[in-house]
């Protein structure tokens, strides 16, 4: 049954709203259930209070091949306390009933298959999930998944990489809903000190082909306000920050309230960097 308390296309509506304000979107990521359900809920709340425009929640997986050490460790923490896909979806439901921000789920394909595509996507929708990213499901393998996500009104967010060919990029742009997730570098997720010029080039190239038909958000290795403002200045509609936030969680396992404070502060400064009018040099 479609969730009537939820409007459709909230992700693209959010991008439209931000464009009007001359701002990029800050997409903030945490791994669901990390380090425990209660702390995770508090940390997610901190992201939202800090000003995250879209919240992306990862479903922990035993073999996260697209992730670097920081997110791998968070997945292990979450799994070791018994976090399952259903537990994560239920926590998103708790958050989505309190806060109006759009929610995106990131999950590797196997946990989705294990639950069943239809059951997973229906449950996701009922929990207030607006979009989904599956990092190991390229367009070529995703026809059935895409049809079912369309049916349940969950935006299927595809990824593009710096080496995605033009032909495939057109297909990926055409099939994506919500936004296109641009993996701006060669590599796995992880905080990096600097942003390569190549990442900004990738943003410009993809934006050109997107022709304004779908928002483009850049992720992987974007960890500091300067990185965020650079990708937004280069034309990206959003910046996705994951490992830099997850690292804060991992650094404060003994003092969760400190993690909350830090997360909120960090998100505030990252969000500030999405404002095109702001003078962040």
């Amino acid at each position: 049954m479609p969730n009537t308390s939820h409007n459709d296309d909230r992700i693209e509506a959010k991008f439209r709203e931000l464009r009007g304000l001359r701002e990029g979107a800050l997409v903030a990521y945490l791994t669901g259930g990390d380090p425990d359900p209660k702390t995770f809920l508090a940390n997610s709340t901190a992201l939202i209070e800090g000003g995250a425009d879209i919240v992306e929640i990862g479903i922990p997986f035993s073999d996260p091949i697209a992730d670097g050490p920081v997110i791998q460790a968070s997945s292990m923490r979450a799994l070791s306390n018994g976090t399952t896909p259903l537990v994560v979806l239920n926590m998103i439901r708790e958050l989505s009933t309190q806060f109006p921000v759009p929610f995106v789920v990131l999950s590797y394909y196997n946990p989705i298959l294990a639950m069943g595509l239809d059951r997973f996507l229906q449950k996701a929708r009922e929990s207030g999930v607006d979009g989904i990213v599956v990092p190991d499901l390229p367009v070529e393998e995703s026809e059935e998944f895409r049809n079912i996500s369309l049916k349940h009104n969950v935006d299927n967010i595809y990824l593009a990489a710096p080496n995605t060919s033009r032909t495939r990029l057109r297909t990926v742009l055409d099939k994506s809903k919500g936004f296109l997730y641009l993996v701006s570098i060669y590599g796995v997720t992880g905080p990096r000190d600097s942003l390569s010029p190549q990442a900004l080039e990738a943003v410009r190239a993809v934006k050109f082909l997107a022709r304004g038909k779908i928002p483009v958000s850049a992720g992987f290795g974007i960890s500091q306000p300067e990185h965020v403002s650079a990708v937004i200045q280069s034309g990206a509609d959003g910046a996705i920050v994951g490992s830099a936030l997850v690292r804060i969680v991992g650094n404060h396992l003994d003092d969760p309230s400190q993690a909350e404070t830090q997360l909120k502060k960090t998100v505030q400064s990252l969000k500030e960097a999405t404002r095109l009018s702001s003078k962040l040099e």
Binding site: S62, I65, T84, P111, A161, T164
Partner: protein, 400 residues
């Protein structure tokens, strides 16, 4: 076993029925396409084929004998048992058939940096050998747990000039070594070739590695026709990722009267976590870029595995095996740690041949099968490797 005609043609390249495919991060789609294209060119080029055949004969030691194990046969009292002697190859296992093929391909593609994963260290050693011979740089990912268990192979790889990267993530074994090699490849796609060790992973690996290993079955078919004047009743091979088994099966797929048996690691028992038998004890899923059978819990987390034989200790299996099983063309069974040890002893003492513990699984099932067949029948078992690497483990379990 029910007889089946040749399995239906595959739906599209890289798919075996619904299994296989390319379930990988976007960054790998382009290098996989380039690899497929380069491999297609390589496999159609007579001069490449000739060059590879030269390496296989002169460097690796092909062809390998098909040996009638008369003592074992009369001990069991049933079908004649033939051993396909891949244990006599350079490096001591079938792995070199694949590493020479891929290393040559990498060289043709202009890649100079080769990465690989290894569990027991056999594929790592075979990669290091091929790379040293062809002048390529090898870096091998190996779980730190496995490095402790297989110290000798770590030393062999280093002596052969390879760099060994310990993997500390996840369960610190083969599946995590593959994860880490994939992460390396995503990061260094431009100059790096990923030399996968079995018929697993995304397309084109399952097809390409199978082609390179098919030399086993091509030889065996000719040899059995010469020696027996007819086809065998059955083939038996152990299944880790599934490369030695698919290698020997492939030339017999279209002979419906030849039964195919793949032997998985039964470990301690068939309960979760106690074996490495995805086809027998697992479910359909996606791991390491392929749709196949996977040992996993009810919510789709990949399970840890257990086997006395490190080369079989993997929670997934090549997609073509998933297809052959569901299509009814091949049958998959398990042999426990204890039975494998017993077979190790039997073959050593009856034939003067120490099998790898992996291959001992196949020997054990062959003995059961031979007993159930008549003396007019014959069986070929793929002796995928020799047992020197396992002597320490066997000594621990089978005190004199």
């Amino acid at each position: 076993m029910k007889k089946h005609a040749e399995p239906r043609t595959h739906s599209k390249p890289g798919k075996f029925g619904k299994y296989g495919g390319q379930y990988v991060p976007e960054t790998l789609m382009e290098p996989l396409r380039a690899l497929e294209e380069a491999y297609n060119r390589f496999s159609r080029d007579p001069s490449c084929k000739k060059e590879l055949a030269g390496w296989l004969d002169d460097f690796a030691g092909r062809p390998t004998p098909l040996y009638l194990a008369t003592n074992l046969t009369s001990h069991v009292g049933g079908a004649r048992i033939y051993l396909k002697r891949e244990d006599l190859l350079h490096g001591g296992a079938h792995k070199i058939n694949n590493t020479l093929g891929q290393a040559l391909l990498a060289k043709k593609m202009g890649k100079r940096r080769i990465i690989a994963e290894t569990g027991a260290g056999q594929h790592g050693v075979a990669t290091a050998m091929a790379c040293a011979a062809l002048g390529l740089r090898a870096e091998v990912y190996m779980g730190s747990e496995d490095m402790d268990r297989q110290k000798l192979n770590v030393y062999r790889m280093k002596m052969l000039g390879a760099k060994v990267h310990p993997v500390e993530s996840g369960s610190k074994t083969l599946k995590d070594a593959i994860n880490e090699a994939l992460r390396d490849w995503v990061t260094n796609v431009q100059d790096t070739y990923y030399l996968l060790g079995s018929v697993v992973g995304p397309h084109p690996y399952p097809t390409m590695v199978r082609d390179f290993q098919s030399v086993i079955g091509k030889e065996a078919r000719k040899q059995i026709m010469q020696q027996e004047g007819g086809l065998p009743k059955a083939l038996v091979a152990c299944v880790g990722g599934g490369s030695n088994s698919i290698g020997i099966f492939h030339s017999f797929l279209h002979d419906p009267d030849v039964d195919l048996y793949g032997v998985e690691a039964g470990g301690e028992s068939l309960s979760p976590g106690q074996n490495a038998a995805p086809l027998v004890a697992g479910r359909e899923g996606v791991l390491h870029g392929m749709m196949t059978y996977v040992l996993q819990n009810e919510v789709g987390q990949v399970q840890t595995t257990r086997s006395i034989s490190a080369g079989l200790d993997y929670p997934g299996v090549g997609p073509e095996h998933a297809f052959l099983m569901t299509a009814g063309r091949a049958k998959y069974v398990t042999v426990s740690d204890e039975e494998a040890l017993e077979a190790f002893k039997n073959l050593s003492q009856l034939e003067g041949i120490m099998p790898a513990l992996e291959s001992a699984h196949a020997i054990s099932y062959t003995m059961k099968l031979a007993k159930s067949l008549g003396t007019r029948d014959s069986i070929i078992v793929n002796l995928s490797g020799r047992g020197d690497k396992d002597v320490e483990i066997v000594a621990k379990h089978l005190p004199q």
